[in-house]
């Protein structure tokens, strides 16, 4: 079979760092091809080259046997190669129709052909099985899944032949992810080649036909999904055998440090009670939108607590600001690293020190040297790879950024760690480092509350587990008393 698209010897460097060191990739018509690899392995760069957003330093591409070298994303789209980015590319002030047709509007003498555009969009949405989305609805009224559909419809409108999806499920709830998989299968049936980038190996098994593993800018292996065991794929990604995905540090559970009694937030959570003890790692499972994030925000004082009591150590209060909570020894890592978790333009040092600047200051004046020495210890412990602490945190890879976000809590000397999706968009190696630090934190007597959508992680790391569904929290039970099937049943309200 002739390949739809062939990339040969693609190289790309940024300054002195080589992102791609001669990658070969072959995509067949009507296949779902998964690209896996740690963060920084070159997946994004390779896909940017494919979709015209970046120009390769050397190497060739062939599309249906003809030379292919798009000077920009628009040129690539004209040839039928479109990419859906992880951070969805949407104009929030425009309607669905305007977003889908953007840059490819039907027009005559500069005037929009409104009726034709609406028909095209409605047809594309119907083809995707989402006829319920009205073309004239403002796109800001859609949820992330709906916005993703809008983007895929945009690609469909330009007669897409190769569709690149960059971690498409990272913003979706489980049921939406399932619908996405069905959509991918229907695209595949139409002969569209789908390139699927993901950290979740389970997803590859659910949706992909073949896979290619990237590591350090090279394609280190490929094969048919199902023929290669998962452990072998992980080995290829990491470049070493991962004996234990979830390193555990032995730790003992002590006295309660955080107690919630019938806590209610604005809409969610809705009457949540739990007791978190020192040295305990408590996992909260549930689907996106079940109120897990809202629970953490209410406890941390970011959202108001409408009713109920939050007891932190000796403090018991109804109203508290995040500053109060920090003073009481609570630290939180947001699930939204770019918007909330980190100030990307500030230095690594400032980001880590932000919640406890007081120690590095005398009468309000900061002492750089004192901050530096306090921080280097935390950063080394986490194995953050950085040039120097004055570097903007936005220059780091996703995994290293997340380590910085979590390291802040350690610098802050928080006793209770609230971690919202602590390994979202993080590569396998960094994940292991983060698990290691969580385990050691528990061993040193800290209490950890982890919200995660990734079940294996919760089962691998936590001592106890509870499941959230529609703002309510199930009973907290030891992990050994749960099975993944039970968790999913409770999370989806079918238990």
């Amino acid at each position: 079979m002739t390949p739809r698209l062939r990339m040969t010897g693609i190289r790309k460097s940024y300054g002195s760092t080589a992102a791609l060191r001669g990658v070969d990739l072959e995509l067949r018509p009507g296949e779902v091809h998964a690209i896996v690899g740690e963060n920084g392995a070159g997946k994004s760069t390779l896909m940017k080259v494919l979709s015209g957003a970046e120009q390769p330093d050397s190497g060739t591409m062939e599309f249906d046997g003809a030379r292919f070298r798009p000077p920009g994303p628009h040129a690539a789209r004209d040839r039928g190669v479109a990419m859906i980015y992880q951070e969805l590319a949407i104009c929030p002030d425009l309607t669905v129709e305007a977003n889908v047709t953007l840059g490819q509007e039907c027009s005559g003498y500069g005037f929009l052909a409104a009726a034709t555009n609406c028909e095209r969009v409605a047809a594309a949405l119907a083809q995707l099985g989402h006829a319920e989305i009205r073309p004239d609805a403002p796109v800001s009224s859609l949820n992330p899944a709906g916005r993703q559909v809008v983007e895929i419809a945009r690609a469909l409108l330009s007669d897409v032949k190769v569709l690149v999806l960059d971690e498409p499920t990272s913003a979706l709830a489980q049921s939406d992810a399932k619908r996405l998989f069905e959509l991918i299968k229907s695209l595949k049936a139409k002969g569209v080649t789908v390139v699927y980038i993901s950290h979740f190996l389970e997803e590859l098994e659910a949706v992909a036909d073949r896979f290619t593993v990237l590591r350090d800018g090279l394609a280190v292996g490929s094969g048919r999904v199902g023929e290669v065991p998962r452990e072998r794929i992980v080995e290829m990604m990491v470049g070493r055998a991962v004996t234990e995905q979830y390193p555990r540090t032995p730790h003992a559970i002590g006295a309660p440090v955080l107690g919630l009694t019938e806590v209610c937030g604005k809409e969610m959570p809705n009457g949540v009670s739990l007791a978190l003890r020192s040295g305990e790692i408590l996992g909260v499972a549930g689907i996106v939108g079940s109120g897990r994030t809202e629970l953490l925000r209410a406890v941390y004082g970011l959202d108001p607590v409408r009713a109920g009591v939050v007891k932190v150590g000796v403090y018991s209060s109804e109203r508290a600001t995040p500053a109060d909570r920090i003073g009481q020894g609570i630290g939180m890592v947001s699930e939204d690293r770019k918007e909330e978790g980190l100030a990307l333009e500030l230095s690594i040092r400032d980001n880590v020190a932000l919640s406890r600047l007081g120690d590095g200051a005398t009468f309000g004046f900061l002492s750089r040297s004192r901050l530096r020495s306090a921080l280097s210890e935390v950063l080394t412990r986490f194995g953050v790879k950085f040039r120097d602490a004055d570097q903007a945190v936005g220059e780091l890879s996703g995994g290293n950024q997340q380590k910085v976000a979590i390291a802040r809590l350690f610098h802050q000397r928080a006793d209770v760690l609230l971690l919202d999706e602590p390994t979202k968009g993080v590569d396998v190696g960094s994940k292991a480092d983060i698990y290691q630090q969580i385990g050691e934190a528990a061993a040193s007597g800290k209490a950890v509350l982890i919200v995660s959508s990734y079940l294996p992680e919760l089962f691998g790391v936590c001592d106890t587990l509870a499941v959230m569904c529609r703002g309510k929290l199930s009973a907290v039970r030891p992990v050994s008393e749960w099975t993944p099937e039970q968790v999913i049943a409770v999370a989806t309200g079918s238990a």
Partner: protein
């Protein structure tokens, strides 16, 4: 469990939007206050309406350009200085032609063309600074504000340039008079330009791209919108509109005056924002912007009629701006 549907329920009815609420509030307030004083007749008189429209013409035309720029996510602080520069250039060209060839309709045509073009050039310069030098629009146009004002003052020789005695062309008198405002060509040019701007925004590909660039520039670029060209064009268009406003101003003031239009930019931005546009781009309509200008002029006029101290005017306008934007925010918060 099923997740929330991607589309929310359709709104059963829609409340009047920000600018209308503000407009009605100001109107009711003034009518009430003035009625108490027994001066309602004066306020609502035809003569007063003429004055309102007359005074509103220049800021309204500038507001059309500002609206386009704000929708694209930019800002133009140089409009007041550009208006002054246009009056000076128009007068300089007119008097030079008049001196060379005596009275002739060509003098006016060339002078007006020069005035509008200089506005366009200022706009193009803003656009080039924003796109080629990648300056933030605030900085680029703040710089152009200084340059334009300085050039205007230099060209005018630090004085106000009048028409040589008897040399005032007829059309200037016509445009300057508010007595026949309903047939004033200046006012009708505003109506025409407002309609054209609304058509541009609603029905053309360029208008669509303007909203897209203001809403999310990265997405617009990704979708193949020529962002650089769109921005260059929008600043140039705004400059041309400001140029035309400058020509009207030239007629209104009967002179080339480098001190005209001071703080016009702030008035106009206030009006357009009261009219529902956002400084972060992607939002705004012609109807809203025109209502915003009307509210602003109404307050100014009403305050002077009502014989309240002028400082009340500033306080009212400021309070209205804040109240209006807060109202919009609050309402958006309720929707989402």
């Amino acid at each position: 469990m099923s997740t929330s549907p991607p589309v929310p329920h359709a709104k059963p009815f829609s409340l009047p939007t920000g600018p209308w609420v503000g407009f009605i509030a100001v109107l009711v307030l003034f009518t009430a206050l003035i009625a108490i004083k027994g001066e309602l007749g004066t306020f609502l008189s035809l003569g007063n309406l003429r004055v309102l429209l007359h005074e509103g013409t220049v800021p309204a035309i500038v507001a059309l350009g500002m609206l386009l720029v704000l929708i694209s996510g930019g800002i133009d602080l140089s409009v007041g200085a550009t208006v002054a520069l246009v009056t000076v250039v128009t007068m300089r060209v007119y008097t030079a032609m008049y001196a060379a060839s005596g009275p002739s309709p060509t003098n006016s045509l060339v002078a007006v063309a020069a005035g509008v073009s200089i506005g366009g050039v200022c706009g193009l310069a803003n656009g080039l600074l924003v796109t080629k030098l990648q300056l933030p629009p605030f900085v680029a146009t703040l710089g152009m504000l200084g340059v334009s004002r300085g050039v205007a003052t230099w060209l005018a020789g630090r004085t106000v340039l009048p028409f040589k005695d008897g040399g005032t062309p007829e059309w200037v008198n016509t445009v300057a008079s508010s007595q026949t405002e309903f047939t004033n060509p200046g006012l009708w040019s505003l109506v025409l330009l407002a309609i054209l701007t609304a058509v541009l925004l609603r029905l053309t590909v360029f208008g669509r791209h303007l909203y897209a660039v203001g809403s999310n520039e990265a997405t617009a670029r990704l979708c193949g919108v020529n962002v650089t060209r769109t921005k260059l064009l929008v600043y140039t268009l705004a400059g041309l509109l400001t140029g035309w406003a400058g020509v009207i101003m030239f007629a209104h003031s009967n002179s080339g005056n480098p001190t005209l239009g001071e703080q016009l930019e702030l008035d106009v931005i206030t009006a357009v924002v009261i009219g529902g546009a956002s400084l972060s781009g992607g939002k705004g309509t012609v109807v809203g912007a025109m209502l915003g200008v009307l509210i602003l002029i109404l307050i100014k006029n009403g305050v002077s009629l009502f014989n309240v101290p002028v400082e009340m005017q500033y306080i009212l306008i400021g309070a209205l701006l804040i109240a209006n934007v807060s109202l919009n925010r609050w309402r958006q918060g309720k929707v989402s």
